[in-house]
């Protein structure tokens, strides 16, 4: 220590101290860097919320109110969560074209980035279910049979045996689930859009949802097989009856007319 103390008046002492101080600051900076990154994310998040707010003011506020408080034309959005926004806007249901019994699916007009921004804004209004991660809704490895049973127990009442859709009261309807993005199916179960009840994780666990998605993927997508031939819309006896009358009996009557026309008539002079 004496040596150090003896050299404290050395002309280079100040330089050394300065270097040490700089090293310490650098070290501290390095040590605290993650915290700073988080800070940066928050900044990005608040940027997304800001952007989302702008989009919201243009596309949503007229019905849901400028602060998401809702109006006679649209429900309040506090607490619906990012998942609800991702579903409604991601399937083109929102923004709605016109008020009615139910807002139908249509062309999606926002990019996924914009949908994320809108979701961020709406999520900032109150805590709600977030957009699920890919591994949550990826149907791979799920129990299809279990999913079928769950589907028949919870979903078939409105969506039909294999999700072909069905009628609800006063012009409302349960839409067809054919080729719906697994993420959107997951979000719909989670948030209960429009006339659908919600099935939070306490009702249908994450695994249950996955099983249902896997079942739908097998029975109701572009590559599902119909071992019996044309599935006639998968609507059951109504379409079967119509087909039987028109093509079955209709065809047989045509055959009968043909047979009856070929008769061994006496030759006309």
């Amino acid at each position: 220590m004496k040596k150090l103390s003896a050299r404290r008046r050395h002309p280079l002492a100040a330089v050394v101290v300065l270097l040490l101080a700089l090293a310490a600051t650098g070290g501290l900076y390095t040590a605290f860097a993650p915290a700073d990154k988080a800070q940066a994310e928050t900044v990005a998040q608040s940027l997304a919320i800001d952007e989302g707010k702008k989009l919201y003011a243009v596309g949503c506020a007229s019905c849901h109110g400028t602060g998401g408080e809702g109006s006679t034309d649209g429900p309040a959005l506090a607490g619906v969560g990012a998942a609800a926004v991702d579903f409604q806007v991601g399937t083109g249901r929102m923004p709605a074209q016109q008020p009615g019994a139910q807002v139908p699916k249509k062309k999606v007009i926002y990019s996924q980035a914009q949908i994320d921004q809108l979701a961020a804004f709406v999520a900032s209004l109150g805590a709600g279910p977030g957009v699920p991660a890919k591994e949550q809704y990826n149907p791979e490895g799920a129990d299809i049979a279990e999913g079928g049973e769950l589907f028949r127990t919870n979903c078939a009442q409105c969506h039909n045996f294999t999700g072909k859709g069905g009628a609800l009261t006063n012009g409302k309807s349960a839409p067809t689930l054919e080729d719906v993005d697994p993420k959107h199916i997951y979000e719909a179960m989670q948030t209960g859009p429009q006339n659908m009840p919600s099935f939070p994780d306490t009702t249908l666990t994450e695994k249950n949802k996955k099983d249902i998605i896997a079942y739908l993927d097998v029975v109701n997508s572009d590559d599902s097989e119909s071992p019996g031939g044309l599935e006639l819309g998968g609507l059951g006896p109504v379409s079967e009856g119509l087909f039987g009358w028109i093509f079955g009996l209709g065809g047989l009557i045509a055959v009968a007319v043909w047979v009856a026309a070929r008769t061994a008539k006496a030759k006309k002079s």
Binding site: A145, E149, S239, G244
Partner: protein
């Protein structure tokens, strides 16, 4: 000439033509004749005449689809297990692996996926049933609209009607056998209808299901009803139906040379037999093709029945759609009194179902009472020449079709973007208003067609040739009809309305006229009164007009 008096054991009577030399076919026929008496049978029936018209083949479509149902049904019974024991599924259909289900469902799954040709046979069976019932409906309407149900064919009309009703229930029990979620819902629906019957409903339900619904018995019970009881009765009725067709001989449309006392057409053998046999294979082939192309009742996507599950779009097959519609359209009324509930919302539709079908079954008797006609009729009516009957039939079909819409109200709502409530209201109003409109419109059309026939007879066919007369007038040339056409258009009978006659006799004493008589006179007026049929042209009218000059 043989002079021997002892019977020849070899059977050779004449030396010139011994039995050994007879053709093999004749020998067989001879052998059979000795035991079955087929010669006289064949002699009487081989030349039986059947008239040719495509609409006379509707019944054949029914008969052949019935045979197809029996044939394929036998195949299905070889693999079906009519049991409700609960087992775990381990067949080849992946999405149901490890699910609990009844043996009935599992064996139907096996038929569909693991039995060779099973799915095709199952689909042929089911499509044939759909076509069978639809065929019977159309066949019945053909008989109705042409008046083929008149004497002597009333009993056969009833046989046919019974076949239709039994076909409905055979279809229903068959549809319930796989014990899938869709048919299970239908069975529950039926049980509800049974329960709605006052007093006896609960007892019948308990007997039928062997306790509370669903119990463990109904599949095996429905099985014996479906494969034994109902088809047995139906087979008997079909045979009876055909025997009566043979006995009465077939009806025919009016035409030159066709009278009430003959049948003009082709003999049973060989022409008709060849045609009918060929037609059987056409029908079988067509239905097999239908079954190969289009899926029906895909139970694997419906899943096994569980009373706690239900799906939307749960309809019965089309022939029960009328009953389904009545229930769906009926408001859910009920009366609660003295600790009992009378579910009018189900009971009234149940009664209407029977009543509605009963009306059409009873119609031949109603009409013969109104006309008072006891003669035999073998010449068919053209529907236009019986406007009130035709209008009544169309009204009946209209009500039936409206209720079919009611039975599929949810599918109609989703596919035409309507509100299911509006569809239901349309059905409620339409069930009463639709038949009235249909009746009036049909009668108008029939009368219009009668007027047109009359015009054609008197003035001939419009030829489309325009002629300019010397003084400048333009006229269209009308071609007179051929003698055959004239006969066809004027062959029908026209009734005169029944009258009660004077109610007061010459001494001023009032005669008592009973109510039914008054009703009959009124109905008769509605059928055959002044504005309810167009008098067909008489020979005098025809002569007067055709002998006259001018451009008529």
């Amino acid at each position: 000439m043989s002079t021997t008096t002892t019977p020849n054991p070899s059977g050779a009577g004449a030396p010139g033509r011994s039995r050994e030399k007879a053709p093999a076919g004749e020998k067989v026929a001879d052998w059979a004749d000795g035991r079955l008496g087929i010669y006289s049978l064949a002699k009487a029936n081989m030349r039986k005449i059947f008239p040719d018209h495509w609409s006379f083949m509707l019944g054949e479509i029914c008969l052949y689809s019935f045979l197809i149902i029996i044939l394929t049904g036998v195949y299905l019974t070889l693999f079906f297990h009519p049991s409700m024991n609960e087992i775990e599924y381990h067949g080849s259909y992946v999405p149901l692996q490890g699910q609990l289900m009844s043996e009935a469902f599992a064996s139907t799954m096996d038929i569909s996926f693991d039995v060779r040709g099973g799915l095709l046979i199952r689909q042929i069976h089911h499509w044939a049933a759909i076509v069978f019932l639809a065929g019977m409906f159309v066949h019945m309407m053909r008989v109705f609209f042409t008046g083929a149900f008149r004497k002597p064919r009333e009993i056969n009309w009833l046989f046919g009607f019974l076949l239709f009703v039994l076909g409905m229930f055979t279809g229903f029990t068959g549809y319930s056998l796989p014990d899938d979620l869709l048919s299970g819902t239908g069975v529950r629906f039926t049980q509800g209808a049974i329960l709605a019957t006052p007093v006896v409903g609960t007892y019948i339900s308990m007997f039928l299901f062997g306790g509370e619904f669903p119990g463990g018995d109904f599949v095996s019970r429905f099985y014996s009803i479906h494969i034994l009881l109902l088809p047995g009765i139906m087979l008997g009725l079909v045979v009876g139906h055909l025997i009566l067709v043979f006995y009465h001989k077939h009806t025919q449309f009016a035409g030159p040379g066709k009278t009430n006392k003959n049948v003009v057409g082709m003999p049973l053998l060989p022409v008709y037999m060849a045609k009918a046999g060929g037609f059987f294979f056409l029908v079988f082939g067509f239905i097999a093709m239908l079954a190969a192309v289009a899926s029906i009742n895909p139970i694997w996507v419906l899943g096994p029945y569980r009373p706690d599950q239900v799906s939307t779009g749960a309809q019965p097959d089309w022939y029960m759609g009328f009953a389904e519609g009545l229930i769906r359209a009926m408001p859910g009324w009920e009366i609660n009194a003295w600790g009992h509930t009378l579910v009018l919302g189900v009971f009234i539709p149940l009664m209407l179902f029977g009543l509605f079908l009963g009306i059409i079954a009873m119609y031949p008797f109603i009409e013969s009472w109104v006309t008072g006609d006891k003669r035999e009729h073998h010449i068919l009516d053209r529907p236009r020449n019986a406007p009130t009957r035709t209008a009544f039939g169309v009204a009946w079909v209209t009500a039936y079709m409206i209720m079919l819409i009611g039975g599929g109200n949810d599918i109609v709502a989703t596919h035409f973007h309507l509100s299911i409530n509006s569809v239901t209201w349309f059905v409620r109003v339409g069930f009463f208003v639709g038949p009235v409109i249909a009746f009036v419109v049909t009668k108008r059309i029939c009368l219009g067609l009668q007027r047109r026939d009359k015009d054609k007879v008197l003035h001939g066919r419009e030829s489309g040739i325009i002629k300019r007369l010397p003084h400048g007038e333009f006229v269209e040339v009308h071609e007179p009809l051929s003698q055959e056409a004239l006969h066809t258009l004027t062959a029908h009978d026209q009734y005169q309305p029944a009258e009660i006659g004077p109610t007061v006799d010459e001494n001023g004493v009032e005669r008592k006229v009973k109510r039914p008589q008054k009703l009959r006179a009124k109905l008769s007026e509605a059928y055959f009164g002044e504005d309810n049929q167009i008098p067909k042209p008489t020979a005098e009218e025809y002569k007067e007009i055709t002998s006259g000059h001018g451009h008529h």
